[in-house]
């Protein structure tokens, strides 16, 4: 059972990496937005394999809306949204690739050389998990949750205020 789960996890992970790579390698903007959606949905599937069902479904649901919105903004603001003109949209290529490789290798090395406790096999059932998560949110982590909600509200107001045009001030 454990080996089976491991194989599924690795396959899903490879899929996520492939789609994440496609995000920056395709020239069609809608393709790149929906590749990101596919990568995120596969991350949600990995959460599901790891038995975090609520988070998995939430991730899959939220990302669908968010990436569709991203697709429409890409369409609106890109000079070449269909990818017909073969524009190059990257800069400082060598520096960013080497930076990414260094950071990724550093994380992998840290993962490899750390002492991990032996993993626990038993997880609570889903209904129990939902109950516990609700209790955690409403008791101990209530302030954190409230802060998150308030900051979403602030960001909504700020975003609306920022996006309004400047020029309509005069009567």
């Amino acid at each position: 059972m454990s080996t089976f789960r491991l194989i599924i996890l690795i396959l899903l992970g490879l899929g996520a990496i492939w789609f994440a790579w496609r995000v920056f390698m395709t020239s069609s903007m809608v393709r790149s937005a929906f590749s990101l959606l596919a990568a995120m949905a596969i991350l949600g599937a990995m959460f599901l394999v790891m038995r975090a069902e609520f988070l998995a479904v939430l991730q899959i649901m939220m990302m669908a809306t968010e990436m569709s919105i991203m697709a429409i903004f890409m369409m609106m603001y890109m000079m070449d949204p269909g990818g017909m003109g073969d524009m190059d949209m990257s800069h400082q290529k060598k520096a960013s690739i080497s930076m990414a490789v260094v950071a990724g290798m550093a994380v992998i090395l840290i993962v490899g050389f750390s002492q991990w406790d032996s993993p626990i096999e038993k997880v609570p059932a889903t209904a129990q998990q939902n109950y516990d998560l609700g209790m955690e949110l409403m008791k101990r982590s209530m302030m954190i949750f409230e802060t998150a909600g308030t900051s979403i509200l602030v960001a909504m107001v700020a975003a609306a205020a920022t996006a309004l045009p400047f020029k309509n001030r005069k009567k």
């Binding site: 491991l6 996890l9 490879l14 996520a16 990496i17 994440a20 790579w21 995000v23 920056f24 903007m29 995120m40 991350l43 990995m46 959460f47 038995r51 975090a52 609520f54 988070l55 939430l58 939220m62 968010e66 903004f73 890409m74 603001y77 890109m78 000079m79 949209m89 990257s90 800069h91 400082q92 290529k93 960013s96 690739i97 930076m99 990414a100 950071a103 990724g104 994380v107 992998i108 993962v111 490899g112 991990w116 406790d117 993993p119 626990i120 609570p124 516990d132 998560l133 955690e136 949110l137 949750f145 998150a148 979403i152 960001a155 909504m156 700020a158 975003a159 920022t162 996006a163 045009p165």
Partner: protein, 102 residues
Amino acid sequence: MIELISVLIIGAILFGIGLYGALGQTNLVMIMMGVELMLGAAMLNLVAFWRYLHPENFSLQVFVLVGMTVMALEAAVGFAIATQRFRTKGSVEMEEASDMKE
């Protein structure tokens, strides 16, 4: 053990790709995609820690929820800035954005 490590390595690779995107792309929306990818990798790591190390501790899941909130916030504010930038300058290419220094 090996499951935990393989999930963490997948997360690390995703983080690397996201970092490349955030550094190497010129367009604001593409940069935001890179940042989202990095946040996604962090959330994957958090869920892996919850599942394999502390399944009884739900603060880790709360942390993932906060991560999702940060993603939504980043999208909202980023799009607002992109809209304003497009209104005033006509493009969201970040190489031309050095005039924001002043």
